[in-house]
C-alpha cells in the first residue's frame, strides 16, 4: 500500500490497449471466470470421468476427441494474469502476504466473505456466460448487448446490496 497506483484513466487506457491487442491478434477478448471453469472441469474429469462425461454441463467440455480442459486460451491467459500481477507487485514493491479488509473487520470474517463472494461470482458467471472481464468489459468493447446488460446487472446489483454489506467496508457514522 506504500507505492502509488497508476492514474486510473491511464491504467484504463492501457487495459483498453491490452484488450484491443487481444481482439486484433486473436479475434477474442479477455476473460477470467472461464479459466476457473476449466480448472473445475479438469478436476471433475480427473476424479470422476464417467460423471463428467454424463453431465450436461461438464459434458460439453470433456469426452473423446476433445482437448484437455486446461489446454484452453483463457487458462493460459489467466496464468499470464498471475505472472503479470506478480511482476507489477515486484516493480512497485507491493509483494506481501496480507489480508486486506474494511475497518473493524477481522481477517477470518474477511476470508469467509471473500469465499462467499467468489462462490457467487462462480455461479453468476456461468449463467451470464462470463464475468466482469469476459462478458461485461469485452462485450462492451465489441458493442454486444450481452456486454451492456451484464455490466448494468453487476453494478446495479452491487449498488443495491451495498447498503446491507456496508459493515464490511466502511465505518458507520454515529
Amino acid at each position: 500500500m506504500n507505492t502509488k497506483y497508476m492514474n486510473p484513466y491511464l491504467a484504463g487506457f492501457f487495459l483498453g490497449l491490452v484488450l484491443l491487442a487481444a481482439l486484433f491478434i486473436t479475434g477474442r477478448g479477455l476473460g477470467a471466470s472461464g479459466a476457473i471453469k476449466s480448472m473445475v472441469v479438469a478436476a471433475v474429469d480427473g476424479i470422476a470421468p464417467a460423471h463428467a462425461e454424463s453431465s450436461s454441463f461438464y459434458g460439453t467440455y470433456v469426452g473423446p476427441g476433445k482437448e484437455h480442459p486446461l489446454k484452453s486460451w483463457l487458462f493460459f491467459e489467466v496464468v499470464g494474469v498471475l505472472i503479470g500481477g506478480f511482476i507489477s507487485g515486484l516493480v512497485s514493491d507491493r509483494l506481501k502476504i496480507v489480508t486486506e479488509s474494511g475497518p473493524n473487520v477481522k481477517p477470518k470474517i474477511r476470508w469467509l466473505f471473500a469465499a462467499i463472494g467468489g462462490a457467487l461470482f462462480g455461479i453468476g458467471a456461468q449463467f451470464a456466460r462470463g464475468c466482469t472481464s469476459g462478458a461485461a468489459l469485452t462485450g462492451m468493447a465489441v458493442l454486444s448487448t450481452a456486454g451492456f446488460v451484464t455490466m448494468m446487472a453487476i453494478f446495479g446489483s452491487g449498488y443495491a446490496f451495498a447498503y446491507f454489506a456496508r459493515k464490511l467496508w466502511i465505518k458507520e457514522k454515529e
Binding site: 500481477g85 453468476g124 453494478f155
Partner: protein, 398 residues
C-alpha cells in the same frame, strides 16, 4: 488484416499469445490498484471511483480501437467474437455477481491479480469461485432449462436500439466522460481527505475528456468503411473514370468447358437468381461479404482470375471496383452479365449471329459448349455448388 487466428496463428501459438496477453492484463490490473479489495469496493460507497474510471476508459479505448481499425480496413470486425446473450440468465447471473462483488470485494480477474501479490483474501475469493462453479455444475439439471432460456444471439447493442454504430459510440463516450466528471465530484465530497481524485491534474483531465468527445463526434461523421466504399463504387463518376477488364462470353464458355483451374467465377446476383440457375463451379457471394475475411484467401490467389457475374454490366462493374479497392488483383467482368451468357450460350433456340467470317465455327462451338455446360450445371447442382472453403469461425467467451 486482423485477427490473425486461425490463418497466421495456429492453435498452439495462440496459447502462447494468450499467456502474453494475460501478463499485460495482470500487470495493468495490479498497477491500477485492482489488487486492492477496499479500493474496488469503494465504487459502491462513493469513496473511490477507481473501478469506474479504469473500467469505462478501457471499454471506450478498446471500442474506439476496434472501430478505427475496422474503418481503415486493418481488422475484419465481422470475424471478432461477439458474445451471444441469453437475456434472463444474463440478468440473473449479473445480479448474483453483483452480490458477490460487494461481499467478496473482487471480481475473478482482480482476485487473481490480488492473489499474485500475496493478498490472502484474493486467494479465498478464487477458492470460493472454484467451489461456486462446482456447485453450479453439480446442480445443473435443476436449472438447465433456465440456462438456455430467452436466447437473443450475438445481438449488437446499437442494432437493438435502432441507431447507427457511430452514434452509439458517441453516446457511450459522452456518458463515460460525464460519469467521470460527476463521480469525481461525489468522491471529493464523500472522501474529503484521501479521495484519489484529489491528486488529479484537472487541466490535463479536462483536455483528455475533450479529446475523447471529439473522437466520439468523429465516429458519428465517419461512415463505417463498408458504407463508405459501397457508396464510392456505385457513384457514376467513379465508375466511368475507372476502366475494367471484360471477359467475352465465348472466352468464359471456353474456359468453363476446358475446366480451366485458374478462374474463379464470383456470382454477385441474389441467392434466389443463383438458386434458379448458375454457372458451374461458381460461388454466390453477396457484395457486402467481400469485406469479410472468410473469402479473403480465395480472393487473394493472384494467379486465379476472378470473373464477376452479375445481373448486368453496371452491377458487375461496381463489384469489380469494390474488389479492386479492397486490394484484390486479376479481376474481370463477364460481358453483358449472366443473361447475355444465358442467351448466347445456354439457350439454344436462336443462335446469336456474329456476322463474322467464322460464324459457322462460332455456332458450332456454342452448340458444343451448350451441351457440355448444361451437363456441368446439372452435375454441380447435384454435388452442391460450394467449392471454395470458408474460413472457420473464431471461438471465444468465458
Amino acid at each position: 488484416m486482423g485477427p490473425f487466428v486461425p490463418e497466421l496463428i495456429s492453435d498452439q501459438l495462440n496459447l502462447l499469445v494468450a499467456l502474453f496477453i494475460g501478463i499485460g492484463f495482470g500487470f495493468v490490473l495490479e498497477q491500477a490498484g485492482f489488487s486492492s479489495s477496499r479500493r474496488l469496493a469503494g465504487v459502491f460507497y462513493g469513496y473511490d471511483f477507481t473501478v469506474l474510471r479504469v473500467f469505462f476508459t478501457a471499454a471506450v479505448t478498446a471500442m474506439s480501437g476496434v472501430l478505427l481499425l475496422g474503418y481503415f480496413g486493418l481488422l475484419d470486425t465481422e470475424a471478432i467474437y461477439v458474445n451471444p446473450m441469453w437475456l434472463l440468465p444474463a440478468v440473473v447471473g449479473g445480479i448474483i455477481m453483483g452480490a458477490g462483488f460487494i461481499l467478496g470485494g473482487y471480481c475473478p480477474g482482480t482476485s487473481i491479480s490480488a492473489a499474485a501479490i500475496g493478498k490472502v483474501d484474493g486467494m479465498f475469493f478464487i477458492g470460493g469461485g472454484i467451489l461456486g462453479v462446482l456447485v453450479f455444475g453439480e446442480l445443473f439439471p435443476l436449472y438447465d432449462k433456465f440456462y438456455e432460456s430467452t436466447p437473443l444471439g450475438a445481438l449488437k447493442v446499437f442494432d437493438l436500439l435502432g441507431i447507427s454504430q457511430g452514434l452509439f459510440a458517441f453516446l457511450l463516450i459522452t456518458i463515460a466522460v460525464t460519469a467521470f466528471a460527476v463521480t469525481t465530484m461525489i468522491e471529493k465530497r464523500v472522501n474529503k481527505n484521501s479521495a484519489p481524485s484529489l491528486e488529479f491534474k484537472t487541466s490535463r483531465h479536462v483536455a483528455a475528456g475533450i479529446v475523447a468527445l471529439a473522437l466520439g463526434v468523429l465516429f458519428i461523421v465517419l461512415p463505417d468503411r463498408k458504407t463508405h466504399l459501397l457508396n464510392k463504387v456505385s457513384e457514376p463518376n467513379y465508375i466511368s473514370s475507372h476502366p475494367v477488364v471484360t471477359m467475352e462470353i465465348d472466352e468464359l464458355a471456353f474456359r468453363i468447358v476446358d475446366r480451366e483451374p485458374n478462374i474463379q467465377i464470383i456470382d454477385v446476383r441474389t441467392p434466389e437468381s443463383y438458386a434458379r440457375m448458375a454457372l458451374p463451379a461458381s460461388n454466390n457471394i453477396q457484395v457486402r461479404d467481400f469485406f469479410s475475411k472468410e473469402w479473403a484467401s480465395a480472393f487473394s490467389r493472384r494467379h486465379v482470375r476472378k470473373v464477376i457475374v452479375g445481373e448486368n454490366d453496371a452491377q458487375e462493374r461496381s463489384s469489380y471496383l469494390l474488389l479492386q479497392e479492397l486490394g484484390y488483383e486479376n479481376l474481370a467482368i463477364l460481358q453483358g452479365g449472366f443473361e447475355a451468357f444465358n442467351k448466347t450460350i445456354l439457350t439454344s433456340s436462336v443462335p446469336v449471329s456474329t456476322g463474322g467470317r467464322w460464324e459457322a465455327d462460332v455456332i458450332k462451338f456454342r452448340n458444343d459448349a451448350r451441351a457440355r455446360i448444361s451437363k456441368m450445371i446439372v452435375d454441380s447442382k447435384q454435388q452442391g455448388q460450394k467449392i471454395v472453403r470458408k474460413e472457420k469461425k473464431i471461438q471465444g467467451g468465458c
